[in-house]
């Protein structure tokens, strides 16, 4: 049996580990356009900040491919898939056959159409790969005296990038089009606390505006004009407005692509023996009760793992994921889950707790007696209990008054649920 995996991040590694646990002998081929040993993608901002070194970037130990008997083809890019002949075309013009194929090609950073950026300009980056770290560092070394940076986008990547550049001693301005940071998951209160945390470290945050155009010279970028009219000088611009599923190589193939590669509950595409997982996949969202890509690491790994098991002959169902983020920026830990941005209305009940002095904010969103959203700022202990409540669709009507309490824990919950969690042998989730 030949398992071919395209990708080298969480979903791919999840699949490798799942396949190997079931099939110790099958051939696993892993193809990645990146040349590095599998590394932790979210750590690139820590690496840029200097908080971790190259040695700590590895997502799995150095001997991982060896112990898992994985044949790697690093630096090879897949450019086409022939699902009839079950072959892959590589940019190097080689053709590979597969029995089972997993597409875990992740996302491609979105580069918005900004005036002045029609041509590549030195000092303008996206930030989603180890390669980006090296490029940024090379630029910083070459240009020298880079003091001012602009980060376009106040999402996860944008904030972690800003934090890293702050740690390198730069003056950072975050430009976000929405009226708040982390607009997909935060409300204004949480966003404001994040703004303050960033500002305490010297960052500037401008909301409800975007970059109208960039200008530069021979050495690279010199500044931007915002749509609000102001001009900001900078020697560096990071575009962090998001990623889109990397599916270009599927053009002309029968594999169904919507916003991502559409997969069923077994992580299989509409084409037999072709699976997809991770940021590239459009899988079931258990809160939305519909399929959509949720580009986050925990789901990537789980999807990859489930795809791997199914590829290796098991029959396992992906019960769906939900949007979730744990992010700590400038010393402010936060967690957001599900429909966290909701405001109170006829359908949703919202409960909040704010202790501005301690820097603690909690918000629980309830729909139909069940938790569907959560924000924790400043204090993230036991956040996972809420995740469990959301995923398991537990009715919390009777313990609603406890949800925001400091003492909230498993013991606030129904004895049966609690006992299962405390004493269930090898709790299955």
């Amino acid at each position: 049996m030949n398992y071919t995996i395209v990708g080298n991040s969480s979903a791919a590694i999840g699949a490798v580990e799942a396949i190997r646990a079931i099939d110790p002998d099958g051939q696993i081929v892993l193809i990645s356009s990146e040349t590095e040993h599998t590394y932790s993608r979210p750590l690139i901002s820590y690496r840029l900040a200097g908080k971790v070194d190259d040695d700590r970037m590895a997502y799995r130990p150095d001997d991982f491919y060896h112990t898992q008997k994985v044949q790697t083809m690093l630096g090879e890019t897949v450019v086409g898939v022939d699902t009839e002949k079950k072959t892959l075309q590589l940019a190097s013009e080689r053709t590979l056959s597969y029995d089972k194929l997993l597409l875990a090609t992740g996302g491609t950073p979105i580069v918005p159409p900004i005036k002045g950026l029609e041509k590549a300009m030195a000092g303008v980056f996206t930030f989603t790969s180890y390669g980006d770290v090296r490029e940024i560092e090379a630029y910083l070394d070459k240009r020298g005296n880079v003091r001012d940076a602009i980060v376009l986008g106040g999402g996860m990547i944008g904030l972690k990038t800003a934090e890293a550049l702050l740690a390198r001693g730069m003056k950072v301005t975050i430009v976000e089009l929405a009226d708040r940071l982390l607009s997909a998951s935060f409300d204004k209160t949480a966003s404001q606390m994040m703004v303050e945390a960033l500002e305490r470290k010297g960052a500037a945050v401008t909301l409800q505006t975007t970059i109208a155009d960039v200008f530069g010279g021979s050495s690279g970028i010199k500044g931007v004009h915002l749509s609000s009219g102001s001009e900001i000088y900078c020697q560096m611009l990071v575009l962090a407005i998001g990623v889109r599923p990397n599916v270009g190589y599927l053009k002309g193939s029968p594999v169904e692509v919507n916003r991502g590669i559409v997969v069923d509950e077994r992580m299989q595409t509409n084409v037999a023996d072709v699976y997809a997982a991770g940021d590239v996949a459009e899988a079931y969202d258990l809160l939305l009760e519909a399929k959509r890509p949720i580009p986050i690491l925990p789901l990537a790994y789980r999807q990859g793992m489930i795809a791997g098991r199914n590829m290796a002959g098991h029959d396992e169902t992906y019960r769906g994921g939900l949007a979730m983020n744990a992010i700590e920026v400038c010393g402010l830990p936060t967690v957001s889950l599900g429909e966290s941005g909701r405001e109170e209305d006829q359908e949703y009940e919202v409960m909040t707790f704010l202790d501005a002095r301690a820097g603690v904010y909690k918000k629980v969103v309830i729909r139909g007696g069940r938790v569907v959203g959560l924000i924790l700022v400043g204090e993230v202990d036991r956040a996972g209990i809420y995740t469990g409540l959301i995923e398991r669709k537990v009715d919390v009507s009777s313990v609603k008054h406890m949800l925001l309490s400091d003492a909230f824990g498993l013991l606030s919950l129904d004895p049966q649920y609690r006992k299962h969690m405390v004493s269930g042998p090898g709790i299955e989730v």
Partner: protein
């Protein structure tokens, strides 16, 4: 594998498990030194939850399918293939709290001072975890189920 199970009807809420857990995972492993001089950097990996008369101690369940391990972005959380213990390499942890967000039991504790996640390692290497060995009422039991 052997796991720790809490018997809430027997937990007396004394929190000796928390103390002995901290000592076990301290540098000195001596209770006075640990609790008087290292306390600030110690985080108990077992936490007693208490509400009225109901108390029990909870630590990592060492799940068959650990959500924390799936979610760990650095690869710091791994399963020891020999023992089944879900291990956490604090040297690789950067404190992103992904695991905290994904543990449905709420058993992973964010270390305030250490800034890394703390979780039970079943006192790897010893026959009986410290919390079990020091529970005065045998409310914690270490067994195969």
């Amino acid at each position: 594998m052997k796991r720790i199970f809490a018997r809430e009807e027997l937990c007396i809420g004394c929190r000796l498990c928390e103390i002995h857990c901290m000592v076990q995972h301290s540098r000195s492993r001596r209770i006075l030194t640990a609790m008087l001089h290292e306390k600030d950097i110690l985080t108990p990996r077992v936490k007693v939850q208490e509400s009225g008369q109901l108390t029990f101690a909870l630590q990592c369940r060492h799940c068959e399918r650990p959500r924390c391990m799936e979610a760990c972005m650095t690869g710091a959380i791994t399963r020891d293939p020999a023992t089944g213990i879900i291990k956490h390499d604090e040297k690789r942890c950067v404190g992103c709290w992904m695991c905290v967000m994904n543990c449905h039991c709420g058993a992973i504790v964010p270390g305030r001072e250490s800034h890394v996640a703390s979780k039970c390692d079943l006192c790897a290497g010893s026959d009986t975890p410290a919390c079990v060995a020091n529970c005065p009422n045998e409310a914690l039991i270490f067994e195969e189920r």
